[in-house]
Every structure is written in C-alpha cells, then in structure tokens.
C-alpha cells in the first residue's frame, strides 16, 4: 500500500460522490444525499492519509519534505482543499445541493493531474531554495484561497446558467462556455491518457492528442467537437431551465454563497501573497520582483478586490458579480498553471 494507491482510491471515491450528488439532486432522496456526503468524507480521509503517507515516503527516500513542492503535489492539495472547504460549507449551511459543483471539481483536479502524461509524480528532493518552512505556509494559504475561489466559480457558473431566461443573454453564454470549457479540458486530458496508456503512443505535451496536435486534421476535429458540444449545451440549457432551477437553491442563495466563498478566499490569497513575499525576502532579499507568477497572483487579487468593491460599494449583484467571479477564477487558473507552462520565471516548476 503506497500513497499512489490511496490517491487513486480517493479519486474513485470522488467520482462516486459526484454521481451520488447528481442522483440526490435528481430525486431528492435524503438517504442518497447522506450517502454522497459520506462517500465524499471517506474520500477526503483517504486522500489525507495518502498525503501523509507520501510525506512519510519522502523521508524513507532520504530527502523528506512536506508534499507541496511540485505540480502534482500542489494540484492534489488543491483538490483536497476544495473538498475540505466544501465539507465545512455543507455542514455550516446544511445544504447538499452544491455537492454537484464541488465534488466534480475536486475529482477533476486530482484526476487530471494523475493522468496527465508529462507531469512527474515522483517524490523529488527539494532544491535548497525550497527548503524552508515558508514553503508550507505559502502553499497552504494560497491553495486554500484558490479552493474557495474554485467553489465560488462553480456556484457562479451555475448561477449564470440558471439566471438566464433567453439563450441570447450574454451572461448565459459566459456561464455555459465556462462549463463546457471545463468539460472539454477534462475530456482532452482523458484522451491524452488513453492515447498514451492504451494505444501506447507517447504524448510530448498536454493536449497533444487533441487541441495541440501536430496533425491539423485532429486539431480541427477537436475544435469543431468543442464548439459543437458548446452549441448543443447552449441550445438545450434553456429548454430544461425550469427543471434545472428547481433542483438547486434559489438564485439569491447561490449569489450569497458565491460571494461568501470569495470572502473566505480573499484573505487567504492575501496571506498567500504576503507569505510568498516574506519567503522571497528571506531567501533572496527581494520581497517583490514582478516575476510573472507574483504579478499574476496580484492580478488575481486585484480582480477579486474589484469584485468586493463592485458588490459592497457599488451594489452590483447577481449576474454581474457572477461574471467577475468567473474572470477571477480564470486568473487563478492562469496564475497557477498558465504561468508555469506559457510564461517563464522563478516559479516554473511545471514540466515542459
């Protein structure tokens, strides 16, 4: 039994939980609801154990460190944080309907990083710069913040889809596009996995089997498929609008939950940035060097600050703030993943 087995176990449990939450939502069966929460909680415990075991395994290898140091470990921690914040939230608000938003997001995070062909899952020794307690505080606060923003994003996408009355509504388009983008990205990751593992063809980089393929034909088909799926969902979404809306808590509650998550995430992100600056100052003597990662984390912070001002001071509500939450999350994803793969700098620990 090693940490990999346990991680795969938690992955499966989150998938089961996702299905259970959907069934709960469709049939409003309390027993299924309790089951869904239970499966999520068990998955969470298993994932916690996996993280602990991986920590122990690093010591067995001779270069012990807390498992927060590379893309794999941080993504797994992000998944863990999403589930943690969701479970607390479910308890405090005594409401299970958002399980369909949180469980799949937690599942997606750990599933995609587990199958992505170019992400090393090895326990690596830390370079001297990473050997610091600041690493722990900085990564934990940042990712807990990201997790809160992720849940807010999920709720906001739901809001944008449910609040729409007409297909032409720009907000509806944004919401549906966000949903379809997440689904397509996951499908592309699964495709990479299948092509590499089942068909045995090595994938040189992310999405090489679809959107980033060398073959123009494959690329074209991928884009067409994505647009097609979007068109389908966009069209059908409004047809089932009332049925969907009945499954979830009211719009005002969704709006409320979305901003409350940002109120949790914003101080955490602030702490993440501050501890990052403190660490940088202690390691290199510069608390801020406008490195792309630092700058993008500030951009994310500014977007959520704009959200808070829009809501609290300018009285924005509903769809407008939901869109800001979606834009904020796009910035979170770019800060975490985009910077490592698209830009270069201090933080590029993503392989490519």
């Amino acid at each position: 039994m090693n940490s990999s087995t346990l991680f795969n176990g938690s992955l499966v449990l989150y998938l089961v939980a996702t299905i259970a939450y959907f069934i709960y939502l469709a049939f409003r069966n309390e027993k299924v609801g309790v089951g869904a929460t239970l499966v999520t909680a068990v998955g969470f415990v298993v994932q916690t154990a996996a993280i602990g075991l991986r920590w122990r395994e690093s010591y067995d290898l001779g270069y012990g460190h807390i498992p927060l140091s590379n893309m794999y470990e941080s993504m797994v921690f992000w998944s863990w944080s999403i589930i943690l914040i969701y479970l607390i939230f479910e308890r405090v608000y005594r409401n299970r309907s958002l399980g369909v938003v949180a469980a799949p997001l937690g599942f997606l995070a750990i599933a995609s990083i587990s199958i992505a062909p170019n992400i090393s899952q090895e326990i690596e020794p830390l370079v001297p710069a990473l050997q610091s307690n600041w690493l722990t505080v900085h990564v934990i606060t940042s990712f807990l913040g990201y997790a809160a923003f992720t849940i807010s994003f999920g709720v906001s996408v739901l809001y944008l889809i449910l609040a729409a009355e007409k297909r032409k509504d720009g907000f509806y388009v944004v919401g549906m596009a966000s949903l379809v983008t997440m689904m397509t990205l996951f499908a592309a990751t699964v495709l990479d996995f299948l092509v590499q593992t089942v068909a045995g063809v090595a994938q040189p980089h992310l999405f090489a089997a679809s959107f980033a393929s060398q073959a123009t034909g494959v690329k074209l088909v991928s884009w067409l498929a994505a647009v097609g799926i979007f068109a389908l969902f966009w069209y059908v979404g409004t047809l089932y609008h009332d049925r969907l809306a009945a499954l979830f808590p009211g719009l005002r509650i969704l709006d409320d939950l979305s901003y409350k998550m940002i109120m949790v995430g914003f101080p955490l992100l602030t702490l993440g940035i501050v501890t990052g600056a403190a660490w940088a100052n202690y390691a290199w003597g510069t608390y801020w060097s406008w490195d792309p990662k630092e700058t993008w984390s500030l951009i994310t912070w500014l977007i959520y600050a704009a959200f808070l001002h829009a809501r609290f001071t300018a009285g924005w509500r509903g769809k407008s703030t939901a869109v800001l939450s979606v834009i904020g999350f796009a910035a979170v994803v770019f800060t975490y993943i985009g910077v490592n793969f698209v830009l270069s700098g201090l933080h590029s620990y993503g392989s490519s």
């Binding site: 020794p125 710069a129 602030t270 501050v274 290199w284 003597g285 608390y287 600050a305 300018a314 910077v339």
Partner: protein, 502 residues
C-alpha cells in the same frame, strides 16, 4: 454650482409674507469635482482594472531586471513573422518602457491615482463611520424601533428602575457596552459591541498606502548588490544591481569556507552554504554559517547565499592508479600541474586540466559547459618509461570508460576540489519593516472587515400601571443570521429574569 454668488436681496422692499424662506445656495469649493472624482468607487474599480491589464503586459514581455529582453525580439518575430516589423515593435516597446514596465512613470502614476483614491475615499467616509461608532443615537424614535429588522416587545411586572437593571445586566452579560438617556418619560438604553470592526476597512486601505510607502523607501534609500568572495579571501567590494557600478561596504566580509552537498547518487545540490566572518574596524565581529533561506544580517545590511562557482585556482585532484602487472593500487594526490611518479612502475602522471562539466563543442574539442561539477573529467598526461606520453581523459562518473588503450596503469579519477567562490546578494532596505507592518495591518483589517460585526441594541422602557413596557430593537452590519439568534436569546434572558423577579 461653484462660483455662484449669493442672491441679491433687495432690502428696500419688504419680503412678501406668503413667500417661503429663500433657498440656501451652497457655494461648493473649487476642488469639489476633484474630490468627487477621487472618491468615486467606479474610478477606483477602473484604476484597479487598468493596473491589472497593464501588469499583464509585463508578464508576457520579459522585464530587464529578471529576464533577457532579447527574448522579446524573438517573441515579436514569432508574432509578426516579419523581421523588420518585429524590430520596430521591439524598439517601440523599449522606448515606451515596456521592458521595465513596473518602474515607468505611468505605472507609478497609476499607483499614485490609486493611492489618492484610497486616501480621499477613506477621509470622506471616516467621519460618518466615526460618528456611528463613537456618538450613537441612544434615544431611538418609535419609527426606528418599528423599522428595525430585529425587534421585540416585552412587559416586565417590575417598576421601571428594576426593569432597567434587569436589561442592563442582560446587556452586560452579552458583552454590550451601555449608554442611557431619558426623554419624554421613557428611559432609553443603548448597547453595542464590535464597533471597532467598522475600522477594519480603513485599516486595510491604509495598509496599502503603507506598502507603497515601504516600497518607495526601499527604492530611494536602499540598494541591492552582488558580491563574490573566494574561499579564504576577504572583500568589501559590492557591485550594484542595475548600473553595475562598484561600491565599498563599511566593513569587510571573509569567506572561510564554502561547501556544496549533493543528494547521494546525483548531481542535484542538496545544500550549499558558506561560513562567513565579518571584520569591522579590524576586529572579527561576527561568524555565521549562511545558506539559502538563512541569510546574515550585519548593521542593517543583509547577505543572502545566492550562487557559487569555481575560481579555477587551487586545483587538487585524487587519482587512483593500479599497476596492471602487479595489481598494486596507489592513491595519488595532485596539486596543480606537478608531475607525480607512480611508485614501482616508472610511469609519471601530470594533471593537465579538470573539466567540471565536460562536453565536446561542435568541433569535438573538449570544453566545460559550466562550473558546476555535473560531469567531472580529468585530463592527465601519462609519461611512459619509454619517453612517449599519452593524453588520457578520466571520467569521474564513468570509471569504465578508457580513452587510451594499452597503458601499463589503470587510472580512476576519484575526486577533485578547487577554490570555490561564494556569490552573495547584498541588500539594504530601510522600507522592509514598513512593508511587513502594512501586510500585517492588511490581514487584520480584512479579518475585521469581513468577519467581525458591529452589533447594536436599543431599548426603551416606559412605566405603565406599575409594570414596565420594554421594547427592544437591534441590528448588525454583518452575520445577520447569527445576530438574529443572539437577539432572540437576549430577549429570552430578559423575559426569564423579569418573570422570576416579578
């Protein structure tokens, strides 16, 4: 309406009795539109968005303090496809400051705009907030009681003074401070807690200004420099980052030792550290071992372990030599290029050169790619008894690899060392404590602004036929659900005590 003069009143005519009072003309000060502009939330949000957008440019184009700006030329070439347009785009970008974006006048101007907006907004809203906190209205009108989101009416069968005591005790128990006033036959009580939470948002905004000030202090009065000290040597020379000019420290730093530890079986550095001694006024005043994440601080100047390298001097190598005929092994040490005889063989060996990171260039010539010992190779001249000599390359990581065949001795490159130098980042930043104070204030400010609530309770007690009618009202500016519960409990407590006593 500024600049209007007050209406001229013709004093010779009596004012008609039916006319109402003259409307007051308020002369607004000249800076009023400016104030309105800066205290507008929309202006603040737009400034934040512009700042965010401009910052993005600086992450896509490499900045000169941390990257290689020539890479931007390549980026433009990829984007435009045309070398001429790429060059023009590059030159234009350089001129308008895109390669040092965060130090341009317009970036600073945006930061100033944001600061002004923060200051003006805060100063405009603070008086009202202060009034709410410090001078609350105790005698709430009836309409206030009726409009309150939380309200309760009770009758306590007690005289008013006793009823008041019950209420005050309940308020005290709930942690509410108390004020009272008497007006038109009724006693009014007021309690509040968490009033200071209203300052949270001002603390957060002020902390941003503090951070800007800290940054300015550091840029203007501080410096960042680089220093290189070889093992055993002392230096006080530092090279300023940016303009690269040399400067002298008011004290000397000596590197007593530099070490790199590798993870077993790999070339990955596990740890690298220097032992430094500070010599001030001729006396050794500090000895410290520094490594990455553990700097040395002396007189406000910080020394950070930044890099290291090989000076190429003081070369020492160990080679294990085995006499093929007799099987006798010898561990030989080499210093520099001296010639050493292998005992009992008549063979002499001379160390020519060590390549820490051996590779071959495009012409097949041996070079070292870097100073890091990633692939150490020793080039040794083997002087045979018959007078000929052969040049052999010994690979530390590949002892099996023999570049010359037929030698009477088997050579293995064991290890080598040379004088290392330690690369230190030297920093003086008088603004850094202001930054940390600002950050701490920001975190506390956010906590109070988001999670701490200003809760207020108003009570009116009116004596009616020997009993007292008690009306309660309360509100909170955050966490209203939990306050509603607290208000319920307060009312219940008063009712219970009242019943027990009356």
């Amino acid at each position: 309406m500024q600049g209007d003069s007050p209406p001229v009143v013709d004093e010779t005519q009596p004012t008609p009795p039916s006319a109402g009072p003259e409307p007051a003309v308020v002369t607004k000060p000249w800076y009023d539109p400016l104030l309105s502009f800066f205290s507008s939330v929309h202006v603040a949000v737009v400034t934040l968005i512009i700042l965010a957008a401009i910052s993005i440019i600086g992450t896509v184009l490499q900045q000169q303090n941390i990257g290689d700006i020539e890479a931007n030329l390549r980026l433009f070439q990829e984007f435009f496809g045309d070398a001429g347009r790429a060059q023009r785009a590059f030159d234009l970008s350089e001129r308008i400051g895109f390669f040092h974006l965060y130090q341009t006048w317009y970036f600073y101007a945006l930061l100033c705009l944001l600061s002004t907006s923060l200051i003006v907004c805060s100063l405009r809203r603070l008086p009202l907030t202060w009034r709410i906190m410090a001078r609350p209205k105790v005698a709430l009108e009836d309409s206030g009681f009726r409009a309150s989101p939380n309200r309760r009416s009770l009758t306590l069968r007690l005289p008013r003074a006793e009823a008041a005591a019950v209420v005050v005790a309940a308020l005290r128990k709930g942690g509410f401070g108390k004020r009272e006033s008497e007006s038109d036959g009724a006693l009014y009580l007021f309690g509040q807690k968490g009033a200071y939470s209203r300052l949270g948002i001002y603390a957060t905004h002020f902390s941003i200004i503090m951070i800007f000030v800290g940054g300015m202090l550091g840029s203007v009065y501080g410096f960042k420099a680089y220093m290189q000290v070889s093992e055993g040597e002392t230096s006080d020379q530092i090279q300023m980052r940016g303009d690269n000019r040399m400067a002298t420290l008011p004290f000397k730093v000596r590197c007593d030792d530099f070490q790199v530890d590798y993870y077993p079986g790999s070339q990955r550095p596990k740890d690298y550290y220097s032992r430094l001694t500070v010599i001030d006024g001729g006396k050794e005043t500090m000895h410290e071992r520094i490594e990455v994440n553990s700097p040395l601080q002396y007189n406000g100047i910080w020394f950070y372990q930044s890099s290291y390298g090989d000076t190429g001097r003081g070369l020492k190598a160990r080679i294990h030599v085995v006499d093929i005929k007799t099987g006798a092994g010898h561990d030989l040490s080499f210093s520099g290029t001296e010639v050493t005889e292998v005992p009992g063989t008549g063979v002499r060996i001379q160390l020519q050169r060590i390549f820490p990171d051996f590779a071959q260039d495009e012409k097949g010539r041996p070079i070292s790619r870097s100073n890091q010992p990633k692939n150490p190779v020793a080039a040794v001249q083997v002087l045979l008894p018959d007078g000929t000599s052969k040049l052999a390359y010994l690979f530390k990581h590949r002892p099996d690899l023999k570049t010359v065949a037929g030698l009477p001795v088997d050579l293995t490159f064991v290890d080598f060392s040379s004088i290392q130098y330690t690369g230190l980042q030297v920093v003086y930043d008088p603004g850094v404590w202001v930054i940390w104070a600002g950050c701490t204030l920001m975190v506390f400010g956010l906590w109070f602004a988001f999670f701490s609530s200003h809760r207020r309770v108003w009570v009116r007690l009116r004596e009616e036929d020997g009993a007292t009618a008690v009306v309660l009202a309360g509100n909170a500016n955050k966490n209203r659900e939990s306050f509603a519960e607290e208000f319920e409990r307060l009312g219940d407590a008063i009712h219970a005590v009242g019943e027990a006593r009356g």
